[in-house]
């Protein structure tokens, strides 16, 4: 009976991320980079020690940056023009005692015994190419929906299946809405 009541409560209160930390840093900015639309992001977490402890305790973390470019419409739903995903896998190699991060932009794995140094080189100076400017037109308003998620990755399948009510999110997901049009000075061709 108690289990049934517990389940009832669980139904009423869906499992949300009990986030350890929050993203910090400057707000993302859109810019034109090499003839395309780019996103500048200075990303960090509020408690790096906690993050470090997680990594040292065997966790692999994945930063997922999802950017969807939409054309805003008044009466109809916004039109999706493009969508990009960037995934940064961060983990600690207990053998080499180094932090390793896969960089989706270069395709390389960056290693550093110092996590802060590694993060400074990567997340704190992200310049992400989103799409070509050709898809944009004058007199139109556009929107970039940016969603940042830092979650556990490479969880052994048996554990992944077992931990049904465990939130994989390490940091509370962050969502940004960035509006622009080509009339802005920053985006003028």
């Amino acid at each position: 009976m108690a289990a049934a009541v517990l389940l009832l409560l669980l139904c009423c209160c869906p499992p949300v991320a009990l986030a350890l930390q929050h993203f910090t840093g400057e707000a993302p900015e859109l810019s034109v980079q090499e003839g395309g639309l780019g996103l500048s992001l200075r990303l960090s977490v509020d408690d790096e020690d906690e993050l470090r402890l997680l990594l040292r305790n065997g966790a692999s973390l994945e930063l997922v940056i999802n950017a969807e470019i939409l054309r805003q419409r008044t009466f109809l739903p916004n039109e999706s023009l493009d969508e990009r995903n960037f995934s940064f896998l961060l983990k600690y190699d207990s053998l080499t005692r180094q932090y390793r991060m896969s960089d989706p932009l270069t395709g390389k794995i960056l290693q550093d015994p110092n996590m802060r140094s590694l993060l400074t080189k990567t997340w704190k100076q992200l310049e992400l190419p989103l799409t070509n400017m050709d898809i944009f037109a004058q007199d139109e308003d556009y929107l970039v929906l940016l969603k940042l998620t830092l979650q556990y990755a490479e969880i052994p399948p048996w554990l992944d299946r077992s931990l049904v009510f465990w939130s994989r999110e390490v940091v509370e997901p962050e969502t940004y809405k960035l509006e622009f049009n080509l009339d802005d000075a920053a985006f003028s061709r």
Partner: protein, 805 residues
């Protein structure tokens, strides 16, 4: 199909239960009626059920919609695994559905128990028993498993395991680092020697040196790279090339230049390698590379150890969540099993108790008298056998009941007949003049009719159960004791004896015929006494005897009287002149007078003996009375005569002459009662009707008064009066004629005996006048009684009652 003729079996309510009760009512007619009623009821019930199902469906649909909305919200905003949460919600809904069903069943059962519905207690026991049978082991299993999970997970993260893992990692790390350190030092030595020998970087002259160093350090390769990271002095073994290209791509050259030395793993097809790269002149000159063959799968093994350690650490970090998940899963499973078990228990309880409940209901209905009840059962298990046995029993009881009813009806009819016969016999007994009385062996009265009660002077209500000896006089008791003794000796004998009962001062002579009632064994067990009132019969017999006496006296005395009288007259006539003695004349005259008196008496005797038979004809009484009274009004003017006639006097069957003779006798007696007549009143009453219907004297009758001379002081003497009153009583249909005088009156004894022959208080009276009156009135089926005149304080009332039919 009816089981018995005239009986209708009604299949009713093939409902949710496999067993249904059929039939109701006691008689076939009532079966049909109640059957229709129950059909109506079942339709109403079905309608209610349909509404209920619709309502439940509505709420279920609403619940499902809510679940879908929640599911959408969950998936849209909170999901990490949509399938999981979909399944989770589906299971939750299922669980909640089962929980709802279980709670609903429990509430229903609770309510049924409170309402004391048949079968609810048994169902409760079954539910509790089945639930307990499953829940207790389930709970035990849950606790054991939970403990097992706790112990197991805690066991995984024991310090010993953890230290082992950490040690293995440390050992691996040391191997790795020592290899790297060795490569680094070897690279340093090698570079120092190259610098000492002043080789040109990447020149051919270095090949032999590098080959020698490779052999000296037992390495797979010792080579150089120029500042552009192009391989020089490069004589790799097979398999190194591909591994190096992969490691070269991942190598952080900038860091290498900064740090001076880096090592990188290499994965070969046959063997793994460790590449140690030393930057020379911060990479401006080139790079010295030493490659050590680590053997097949070396890096994989190291990484496995590392990955295993990492996984172990991750697991340790998440062990609380893992435990919670396992506990939750276990709890959910246990709850599911528990709820499913309880639901199953309810279901089984219902299945098991439904036929029992039906049987109990059917039995109760049968106990209430509905023998047409039947149970339908489509199963083939033991209940079906029970149901068949019940139906067979019901049919047999119904048949027996029908037979009993028929027998009862027959007995009722017979009782009715017997009751009618008994009433008839009672009516006969109550209306016969004879008294019938029965008694038991203890001489207690068991039955008595009205006449018997009247004879013995008891009321019917008090007579029953009373001992006979309690109301008998000593003399009567002596008589009955003798009779009783005879009956005891011979219970079947018939005995007759006479009893005299005095009732209201009047003796009643009863002829009692006693019959004993013997038992089949011949023992005395009571008897029956039949009383016959022989008082009147005795009187009649006495009257007849007296008439015979009167006739003989008249006959014997009458003949010599005439010669005696004539002789006396002759003597007087012949010798009166010769005999001067007045005694002679007085004597002869006395003889003549006495003879005349005797002749008168003889005449009266003769009249009494030869009273003509009355001839009844329809006639009116008023003229007879009027003529009689007028006759006396003229002859007895000193008496006030009055006649009150009811104007509605009906005609009656009568003999006018006989009645007038009777009335004249009564009136004569009344007149003589006043003693106003100086001498004996010779009342020559002549009776007879002329042809014209008028009263015609036929005979001369001398009536002597029976009454004593009245006292001077009595009020009657002052104003002597005789009143004749005739009234008709419609209720009894009797004509009553009262002759009321205010004379001196009579005492009780005189009144009792005044109608007896030859009873006279008057000297020389024959005592036949009122006897003749009684004889005439009796022949008219009437009654004559003497009563005191209570209205005038003295006098007598002679009351004559004559029937008008």
């Amino acid at each position: 199909m009816p089981l018995f003729p005239g009986e209708r079996t009604q299949p009713v309510a093939k409902g949710r239960s496999r067993t249904a009760v059929a039939g109701s009512g006691h008689a076939p007619e009532s079966n049909i009626l109640t059957g229709t009623a129950s059909l109506v009821k079942s339709q109403a019930q079905r309608s209610l059920d349909r509404k209920k199902r619709r309502r439940e469906f509505f709420w279920a649909a609403m619940g499902l919609l809510l679940v879908l909305v929640l599911l959408f919200v969950q998936i849209q905003y909170f999901s990490s695994s949509s399938i999981f949460f979909a399944l989770f919600f589906f299971n939750s809904v299922l669980l909640l559905g089962i929980l709802f069903v279980v709670l609903r069943n429990a509430m229903k059962l609770l309510l049924e128990r409170r309402r004391r519905i048949i079968g609810s207690r048994l169902r409760t026991r079954l539910v509790l028993a089945i639930s307990a049978m499953t829940l207790i082991p389930c709970l035990v299993m849950f606790l054991v498993t939970a403990q097992f999970v706790k112990i197991s997970i805690d066991f995984w993260f024991q310090n010993q395991v953890e230290s082992t893992v950490e040690t293995s990692l440390e050992m691996t790390r040391r191997t790795y680092e020592s290899t790297a350190a060795r490569l680094r030092s070897q690279a340093g030595f090698c570079l120092a020697e190259i610098e000492a020998r002043d080789y040109g970087w990447g020149g051919v002259s270095m090949d032999a040196f590098l080959e020698r160093k490779r052999q000296e350090y037992d390495l797979a390769l010792v080579g150089t790279l120029d500042s552009g990271q192009v391989e020089r002095n490069w004589q790799p073994e097979a398999g190194i090339g591909n591994a190096w290209q992969e490691a070269k791509n991942n190598l952080d050259w900038e860091r290498l230049r900064r740090d001076g030395f880096l090592f990188a793993p290499g994965y070969g097809a046959q063997s793994d390698f460790m590449f140690g790269v030393l930057s020379v002149g911060s990479g401006r000159i080139g790079y010295l590379m030493l490659v050590e063959d680590m053997g097949e799968g070396f890096w994989s093994k190291l990484e496995e150890i590392s990955a295993g350690t990492q996984e172990y650490k991750l697991l340790r970090t998440l062990r609380r969540e893992l435990k919670a998940t396992l506990y939750l899963t276990l709890t959910v499973l246990t709850a599911l099993i528990a709820l499913a078990t309880i639901w199953f228990a309810f279901r089984v309880g219902k299945e098991l108790t439904a036929p029992i409940t039906t049987l109990v209901n059917a039995t109760e209905r049968m106990a209430e008298g509905d023998t047409s009840v039947r149970i339908e059962d489509t199963s083939s298990d033991e209940f079906a056998v029970l149901v068949k046995a019940f139906n067979r029993m019901a049919a047999e009881i119904g048949q027996s009941r029908q037979e009993l009813t028929d027998t009862n009806a027959l007995l009722g009819q017979q009782n009715l007949v017997l009751d009618q016969q008994r009433r008839y016999v009672e009516t006969v007994l109550d209306n016969i003049a004879a008294g019938v009385l029965s008694f038991d062996a203890e001489w207690h009265i068991t039955t008595a009719n009205k006449a018997a009660c009247e004879f013995i002077g008891l009321k019917l209500e008090t007579a029953i159960g009373r001992n006979i000896n309690t109301f008998l006089t000593k003399a009567q008791s002596r008589q009955t004791r003798k009779v009783g003794l005879k009956l005891l000796r011979r219970p079947g004998s018939h005995l007759q004896h006479q009893l005299v009962f005095t009732h209201d001062g009047e003796d009643r002579h009863l002829l009692a015929t006693s019959v004993g009632l013997p038992s089949p064994e011949g023992k005395f067990q009571g008897g029956v006494v039949v009383f016959e009132d022989v008082t009147e019969m005795e009187k009649m017999q006495r009257m007849a005897a007296w008439r015979e006496v009167a006739r003989r006296i008249a006959h014997e005395i009458k003949n010599p009287l005439t010669p005696i009288k004539l002789s006396a007259q002759r003597l007087e006539k012949k010798f009166s002149a010769e005999v001067s003695d007045p005694v002679f004349q007085q004597s002869t005259q006395l003889i003549v007078r006495q003879v005349e008196l005797l002749q008168s008496m003889v005449q009266e005797f003769s009249t009494f003996a030869k009273l003509p038979e009355v001839r009844l004809r329809r006639g009116k009484i008023a003229p007879v009375l009027q003529e009689s009274v007028d006759m006396f009004r003229n002859s007895h003017a000193n008496i006030i005569w009055s006649l009150d006639l009811d104007p509605n006097l009906p005609d009656l069957e009568m003999d006018g002459i006989a009645l007038q003779r009777a009335f004249l006798n009564i009136l004569t007696n009344a007149a003589e009662a006043f003693n106003f007549m100086e001498s004996k009143t010779d009342m020559k009453a002549e009776a007879g009707m002329e042809a014209g219907g008028t009263l015609r004297p036929q005979a001369r009758m001398e009536i002597k008064t029976d009454a004593e001379p009245a006292q001077e002081s009595k009020p009657g003497r002052q104003n002597p009066a005789v009143r004749v009153r005739a009234v008709y009583d419609p209720e009894t249909r009797m004509l009553r004629i009262d002759f009321i005088d205010n004379g001196p009156g009579l005492n009780d004894d005189e009144r009792k005996r005044m109608f007896e022959p030859y009873f006279s208080r008057k000297k020389g009276g024959t005592g036949l006048g009122l006897t003749i009156v009684r004889s005439i009135i009796t022949e008219h089926r009437g009654y004559v009684r003497a009563l005191p005149n209570e209205a005038d304080d003295s006098g007598t009332v002679i009351s004559v009652e004559l029937p008008t039919i």
